[in-house]
């Protein structure tokens, strides 16, 4: 695992220099503190910050092909590198290291961009073709690893994180109003957009080629559902459970390859328990598991985590998170997340990876992706219920099914069918709309936009987001059933852009910890793409097939547990102190006026409501987190970007400057 950085100077941009690269790489030291490498020529500068996991003694980057035509910097893992290495070797390609970087590079040399389809991994890469003067950029299928870029003053700049680009000489960030509109609707903005106007990100499952004529992007993979496969149609339930078991086991085994110990997160739910069990079956020696416990019992799942840990007999380590811990660490978390967020859930994840790091672990396996592909979220049930209700809109019985997914709906039931119909029946019969499954959620979340300043609303203008229309949905989407459509929309609007970023890559790599996701092996998503809907969700039984597999491996109280969404306290965290904190500062009229994105009067009404102890709704909490995170980012990235000290004498930096043809430290 690593971080990458670089820039190209085609026209009147910045001449490639060691100093600029040392400053850029210093911003992502956390991603790869072990070693740094820089390549320079007349046009290109490439850099890498390395966290050594495989082939610790080799694998130094940037790495070149033997003829020095191609140079690669790369962040991530190719899990099937052994298989690909053997194949390359048997076709006569010489491979010198045990490192996956070399496999990627040599496979690219042989097959070009088509090689991406053969990689099973999580990565972002840049390969510089010195002969054609062409840069190739690529991201893994699901966008597990990030890659940003910007055109600035005749230079093309790229990097693993926005802070790499923000440290580029002269590059000043400003807010993208439409991105903010998207974030305050669906929790994150969608690639190629980033929260900042000057910066774009490569879409998941795509690559780009850049030369003097410009940037050409190409999608090489997209998540799909309802792919016809006779073998799946004729398979029995037992066949499918066995096939899934084999697949997940192999996926876990591939992800256990590392020259350092591998641990696992335990949330207390089905997905992470399943992964941890499969790890236990295959791990040699000590196996550590890690969990978050909350002081606030409403959020805590310790009991289930402890139960799994003792069942698997792991060395179990817990970070206990109090409300004020979330507040105190939040600014640092936001520095890493680089996006406004509407939930505080990333903060405990950051504290968890700190614990992992202090326990001298660099790699953890986690359960992310199961809910998206095997259908675990309540929003999928909501979509199914609404579509069922839409067939008989006058029915009073059908909407009552919603009580099964909204526990507080028993209270709401007091409101009677008319209210229920108006809240959950909005656009009820418009079942062919692309955004049908997510309309209620997005309409609700948009209420958080009430705090936007008139200036921000003007800047958004008529460009208010329909996220579905920006989600690159395939043509066949319209013909899928409601469950498949809901899953696909969730994957395209939430998985990479929020979950794998703010609750994944950023909060892990912020403490030099690499997350690996067995459920996001592309063979698992391919399996789900062919899996008939009734095996994903049967009636309102979520993750049907996965639970059946769980039944064979886990105790009943784990495999049969209703899903509990992972959440963390919000207003009780930010306002848990009597004394003044940064929260008072960033929400002060002065700071709000300076930033200009929010209406100070509206914000003071919200904080007044909190301070008077009045009950807060979901949207109030989301808005509060959105306000604080945006204001913090404004200070950190827009108003006063403070680049860390550049790499120095203490760092292990290897520089290859082709203009001097010399290798030096």
């Amino acid at each position: 695992m690593c971080g990458i950085a670089g820039y190209l100077n085609f026209k009147k941009g910045l001449v490639p220099s060691k100093e600029t690269m040392q400053a850029m790489l210093a911003t992502i030291r956390h991603r790869g503190p072990d070693q740094f490498g820089i390549y320079l020529d007349d046009t290109a500068a490439l850099g890498n910050a390395r966290l050594s996991i495989i082939d610790l003694d080799h694998g130094q980057q940037p790495m070149a092909t033997s003829d020095r035509r191609y140079w690669i910097v790369y962040n991530g893992e190719i899990f099937n590198h052994k298989e690909l290495r053997e194949e390359l070797q048997s076709s006569g390609v010489a491979i010198e290291t045990h490192c996956d970087t070399e496999v990627f590079l040599k496979l690219f040399e042989k097959e070009g961009p088509d090689c991406l389809r053969r990689l099973n991994g999580q990565f972002a890469a840049a390969i510089w073709d010195t002969r054609e003067k062409r840069l190739f950029l690529a991201r893994d299928r699901l966008g597990i690893r990030p890659l940003y870029y910007s055109f600035h003053g005749g230079s093309f700049v790229f990097g693993s994180e926005i802070k790499v680009l923000a440290s580029f000489p002269g590059l000043q960030l400003s807010w993208d109003a439409v991105a903010l509109d998207q974030i305050f609707t669906g929790w994150s903005c969608l690639a190629p957009r980033s929260p900042f106007d000057e910066i774009k990100q490569l879409r998941p499952g795509s690559y780009a080629c850049l030369d003097e004529s410009g940037l050409q992007e190409q999608v090489y993979w997209q998540p799909s559902f309802e792919v016809e496969d006779p073998a799946f149609r004729s398979a029995s339930e037992t066949d499918l459970i066995d096939a899934l078991h084999d697949l997940l086991l192999d996926s876990v085994k591939l992800r256990l390859q590392a020259d350092v110990p591998v641990g696992a997160y335990l949330s207390g739910g089905l997905d992470s328990s399943l992964i941890a069990s499969l790890v236990k079956e295959n791990a040699r020696g000590r196996f550590d598991t890690f969990s978050i416990a909350f002081s606030d019992a409403n959020f805590d799942e310790s009991e289930h985590q402890q139960r799994m840990a003792s069942l698997l007999d792991t060395e179990h380590q817990v970070i206990k998170v109090a409300n004020e811990d979330i507040r105190d660490v939040f600014p640092e978390v936001i520095w890493h997340c680089e996006s406004p967020i509407l939930r505080t859930a990333p903060a405990p994840m950051f504290l968890l990876s700190r614990l992992v790091n202090r326990s001298r672990y660099k790699v953890v396996l986690t359960g992310e992706g199961a809910d998206e592909f095997f259908a675990g979220y309540d929003i999928f049930k909501e979509a199914k219920i609404r579509a069922f209700w839409a067939k008989e809109p006058e029915s009073q019985r059908r909407p009552k099914l919603l009580e099964r997914i909204y526990p507080d709906l028993q209270n709401l039931a007091r409101l009677g069918p008319k209210y229920l119909a108006s809240f959950f029946g909005h656009g009820l019969t418009d079942t062919t709309s692309d955004s049908y499954s997510h309309n209620i959620r997005w309409t609700n979340t948009r209420r958080a936009k009430r705090f936007f300043s008139p200036e921000l609303n003007d800047a958004i203008g008529t460009r208010t987001s329909n996220l579905a229309s920006e989600a690159d949905l395939p043509a066949e989407f319209k013909h899928w059933d409601i469950l498949s459509r809901a899953q696909r929309l969730e994957i395209s609007t939430f998985l990479s852009s929020y979950l794998l970023s703010s609750q994944g890559d950023r909060v892990g790599m912020g403490n030099s910890v690499e997350g690996r996701y067995p459920f996001l092996d592309y063979r698992v998503s391919d399996f789900c793409s062919k899996l008939p809907a009734k095996f994903r969700m049967r009636g309102l039984r979520d993750k049907y097939l996965l639970r059946k597999l769980g039944k064979e491996i886990l105790p009943k109280d784990i495999w049969d547990r209703p899903k509990k969404p992972y959440r963390a306290p919000i207003h009780r965290s930010f306002f848990s102190s009597e004394r003044e904190t940064y929260v008072d500062h960033v929400l002060s009229e002065d700071s709000l006026e300076k930033c200009g994105l929010f209406n100070p009067k509206a914000v003071s009404m919200l904080t007044g409501k909190i301070k008077r102890g009045l009950p807060l709704g979901e949207i109030d909490d989301m808005a509060l987190t959105g306000l604080i995170s945006t204001q913090l980012l404004h200070e950190q990235y827009v108003e006063n970007f403070k680049a860390p000290d550049p790499l120095g004498a203490k760092d292990d930096v290897l520089i290859y400057d082709s203009r001097r043809r010399a290798l030096k430290n």
Partner: protein
């Protein structure tokens, strides 16, 4: 009964519109998307606490609670001890 009207308006504007005071007495909260589902329950709590009345389940209807006007009329009826469920 202006005080009730002002109180309800203030409550909605401060807690749900955060100062954006363009609410007519007959603006439908539902049509404008002003309250979410828990918001209606908070509104009911506020009415019960402030006016010492009990909002019965069968009175929780948009007809009683969806505009400032309707709420005022409803509270006045209740206070006069003559409240009747609109649905009856």
């Amino acid at each position: 009964m202006k005080p009730i009207r002002d109180d309800i308006r203030n409550y909605i504007v401060e807690n749900f519109l955060f100062g954006q005071d363009d609410l007519a007495d007959d603006t439908s909260f539902l049509d404008r998307g002003i309250l979410d589902s828990t918001g209606v329950l908070y509104l009911v709590d506020h009415i019960e606490l402030t006016y010492s009345i009990k909002v019965e389940n069968d009175e929780m209807l948009p007809e009683n609670l969806d505009t400032i006007e309707a709420i005022c009329a409803y509270i006045e009826r209740k206070q006069a001890g003559a409240a009747q469920s609109v649905s009856e």
